[in-house]
Amino acid sequence: MEKIREEIKEKARQALASKEVDVILAWEKGELWYDSYPAFFTKEKDIDSLVWDSFCVNNLSKYLLEYTMTDKKIGVFVKGCDALAFNQLVQDNRVSRDKVVLYGLPCSGMVDPDKVRTKNLNQGLTEIKKSKDKLIFITKDKEITVPAHEVYYDKCLHCRYPNPVTYDQLVGETVAAEGVLDDSVRFSGVKELEELSCEERFEYWDGQFSKCIRCFACRNVCPACSCKQCTFDDSDLEVLGKAREDSEDKFFHLIRAYHVAGRCIDCGECSRVCPQDISLEKLNRKLIKDINELYGEYQAGLDPSAKAPLGTYKLEDADSFTVGEKGGKKREKNSKR
């Protein structure tokens, strides 16, 4: 990682120097050990503070929306999930591909500060080094090695796209996907819920939704939520009220999930940023699972020229509404009886 970090910086410096791009979008270290936040670089000399470490979880693609109203060329570093997000933004016509230079960064996972804290590894932490599938936590006086999967974010454990699916230049070597990748793991949470009774499911979701404080962090971080003005902020139409009221929470979450249906790249950022730990990924994945089952496998963000599943149709699409009411004349006769 540290070797690549230098490569990244070099790449950024060159890009700015050669005027390949006007702005570099990358990460910068904040005050706290786990703070690696997005930063815009326009001057070569500032590149020294650019960082690439185990906490660069923030998805930079969505920050490109800040630049939709300029004609500046932007260089942006993208991890696997960020690249999917980028493609989704291109598909949604929110970002022009030709205004962006993508630097691909293979990523085997990002570290969850909470897990680090639980393991008490953050005391005097100066650096985290990666060695194969282990992470070495280095403090002033000691080094502790832990298996990487113990401290990675949950969402990174079964990551299907550790390497960017699109880029102009790749920095570093591609990495292998880790963990179990088939859908059984990805949709296990959804399946568990599906098997419950209607009342049990309601109880579960009622519990989840009622935790919501409607901070909109899930929406704000989501690369599929790229509208110029969100419908929930439309004071004229008043789709969503302001009151602390359960039905409004449900309304918000159902519509949020529905609005990203077919466009959710399953990056898991919404669940990660939720301060109330609402399992939003189980809503999103339900929709992904249904789309896969009903209309064929679809991964949002893989192909920016693809048609979003809800923006197209097939004549032979499944029709679950009239099951049992079709059939020939014989059936009709039977139903009369």
């Binding site: 959804v190 819920l193 599906e194 209607c198 009342e199 049990e200 499911r201 309601f202 109880e203 579960y204 979701w205 009622d206 939704f209 419908t231 789709v239 009151a243 009221e245 359960d246 039905s247 409004e248 449900k250 309304f251 159902l254 519509i255 999930a257 529905y258 249906a261 809503l283 339900k286 929709l287 249904d290 789309i291 009903l294 209309y295 599943p309 809800l310 149709y313 097939k314 004549l315 699409d317 499944a318 029709d319 679950s320 509404f321 009239t322």
Partner: protein, 154 residues
């Protein structure tokens, strides 16, 4: 105590008059409802129809808003796939509401509360049948308490 509770609940069921909001496309289902009218086919007064040009005009917002405002059931009815007055509108309806229907079920809303069906202008019989059927099922389920706004009167 339990006896009292059960007796009041029985009473509630008796008093329960479901409210059902039906979004009907102008060209098929609304006309089908008109035909049910001209043919004097009875269905309960609990069903209230809102006219929309096409079933693809129906936003999932509308469906949820109806539930929020106390509707006990919501129906979306359009032309049969292939017969859409606007050529392809109801193919989108089919995808949109297949997903919404599954999503509502997934968060624990009873399946029968949200009905999507294709009713053509000549299917007055089917219109009445579907309306009766939905009402009967919703009646069994009782009032919608899961999505209702507690501040709304109904």
């Amino acid at each position: 105590m339990s006896v009292v509770a059960s007796s009041t609940s029985v009473k509630n069921v008796e008093e329960f008059e479901p409210l059902i909001v039906a979004f009907c496309c102008n060209w098929c289902s609304y006309a089908g409802a008109d035909l049910a009218g001209t043919s004097r086919l009875n269905y309960p007064a609990n069903i209230k129809i809102i006219r929309v040009p096409c079933s693809c005009r129906v936003n999932s917002n509308f469906v949820l808003r109806a539930f929020q405002r106390g509707a006990d059931g919501v129906i979306v009815a359009g032309c049969h796939p292939g017969d859409c007055h606007y050529m392809t509108g109801n193919y989108y309806t089919r995808r949109r509401f297949s997903l919404l229907k599954n999503l509502l079920e997934y968060v624990g809303i009873e399946e029968a509360r949200f009905k999507v069906d294709w009713i053509s202008a000549s299917e007055g019989n089917k219109f009445a049948y579907v309306m009766n059927d939905v009402l009967e099922k919703v009646h069994k389920l009782g009032p919608n308490r899961k999505l209702r706004d507690s501040r709304w009167k109904r």
